[in-house]
């Protein structure tokens, strides 16, 4: 059957695959025929994701990407790749005047520095085959909008947006494409963990109703965008911020 979105024959590395958007992307990409290399910190939850994957030949490698030696271990153990999706990320709600060095270093380490260093090493060690696709899970926050308390998180995602452009330009020489997906709110466990500030009712009132398509996102909504960017359907697309937000940024 004609399908320009097929991932058949492609091996794709997915970070942050032990939960949320990362898990959704790993599972959906496996359904499109990809061989998946999943990585994450939590071994039990990584195994859960592994069990959800369809088809054979997938690999799981537990790693803490905030440590350089574990990035190196991941890159040396991963097979040659046709794609990489950076999903590992943490949220942080903090008013501007309460930002301190620890706050900002922690979130930059996970959301910005780790995926940039991983990308760099994948390129250096020639782990990316010709015409590969690298996808960063960014956010609408920091690139298009921002809300109260989001400035540290927004800063990490704005930095990713800049990196995507620079890397897309430079790696185009070898046919590698680099893009980001900028989702609106996708409620996952990580949000529940971080979110001690707003009640579910408040979220309903102040946030969910701002989505013109009348709902917040699911990991699958983001995964379908990732499939597009990983597949040959997007062969002429590089350096973009692909907004997937139910129309939030229209308002």
């Amino acid at each position: 059957m004609y399908n320009p979105f097929s991932l058949e024959g492609k091996t794709i590395l997915v970070t942050g695959a032990s939960s949320g958007i990362g898990r959704g992307i790993a599972v959906e990409c496996s359904k499109m025929g990809a061989k998946i290399v999943i990585t994450g910190r939590n071994i039990e939850r990584l195994q859960e994701t592994f069990d959800f994957l369809e088809g054979n030949g997938h690999v799981q490698i537990s790693a803490d990407l905030s440590k350089q030696e574990e990035i190196e271990m991941l890159v040396s153990s991963t097979p040659d790749l046709k794609g990489c999706v950076h999903c590992a990320g943490i949220p942080k709600i903090c008013a501007v005047k309460f930002i301190n060095r620890d706050t900002i270093e922690d979130i930059f380490n996970v959301n910005t520095i780790a995926p940039i260093l991983l990308t760099s090493l994948l390129v250096k060690k020639k782990k990316l085959l010709s015409k590969s696709s690298i996808v960063f899970i960014s956010s609408i926050s920091g690139v298009f909008v921002a809300n109260t308390g989001e400035s540290p998180y927004s800063a990490t995602k704005g930095a990713i947006s800049g990196f995507v452009k620079g890397a897309a330009f430079e790696l185009a020489a070898q046919g590698t494409r680099v893009n980001s997906i900028n989702p609106g709110l996708v409620p996952t466990n990580i949000l529940k963990l971080s979110n001690t500030v707003f009640s579910p009712e408040q979220l309903e009132e102040t946030m969910y109703k701002r989505y013109p398509l009348k709902r917040v996102g699911t990991p699958e909504d983001v995964a379908y965008a990732a499939i597009y960017l990983l597949s040959e359907a997007s062969n002429w697309v590089t350096g973009v911020n692909l907004v997937v937000d139910g129309g939030y940024t229209l308002a």
């Binding site: 903090c94 008013a95 309460f98 109260t148 308390g149 001690t196 707003f198 009640s199």
Partner: protein
């Protein structure tokens, strides 16, 4: 930390509202300046000054500054 000192720290999180408006019995959610930002700031100052974690739910269940102080004391 004493209640008076907490009232003062609470007041410091506001930029427009004069400090003398704040007492232990102030119903803070009725203040014009009360917002998600001041709520966030109160949560952060409690963490910073008292090393205690309060949540949005704790703030919602408090009416006065003293109510919130009691919740903090019980943690």
């Amino acid at each position: 930390m004493k209640l008076e000192e907490f009232v003062q720290k609470f007041a410091e999180q506001f930029d427009e509202t004069p400090a003398e408006v704040f007492t232990a019995s102030t119903v803070f959610k009725e203040l014009e300046e009360w917002s998600s930002l001041t709520a966030l700031s109160v949560i952060a100052i409690v963490d910073e000054e008292l090393d205690k974690r309060i949540t949005g739910a704790d703030i919602r269940s408090s009416n006065t500054i003293e109510d919130l102080f009691s919740i903090i004391q019980s943690k």
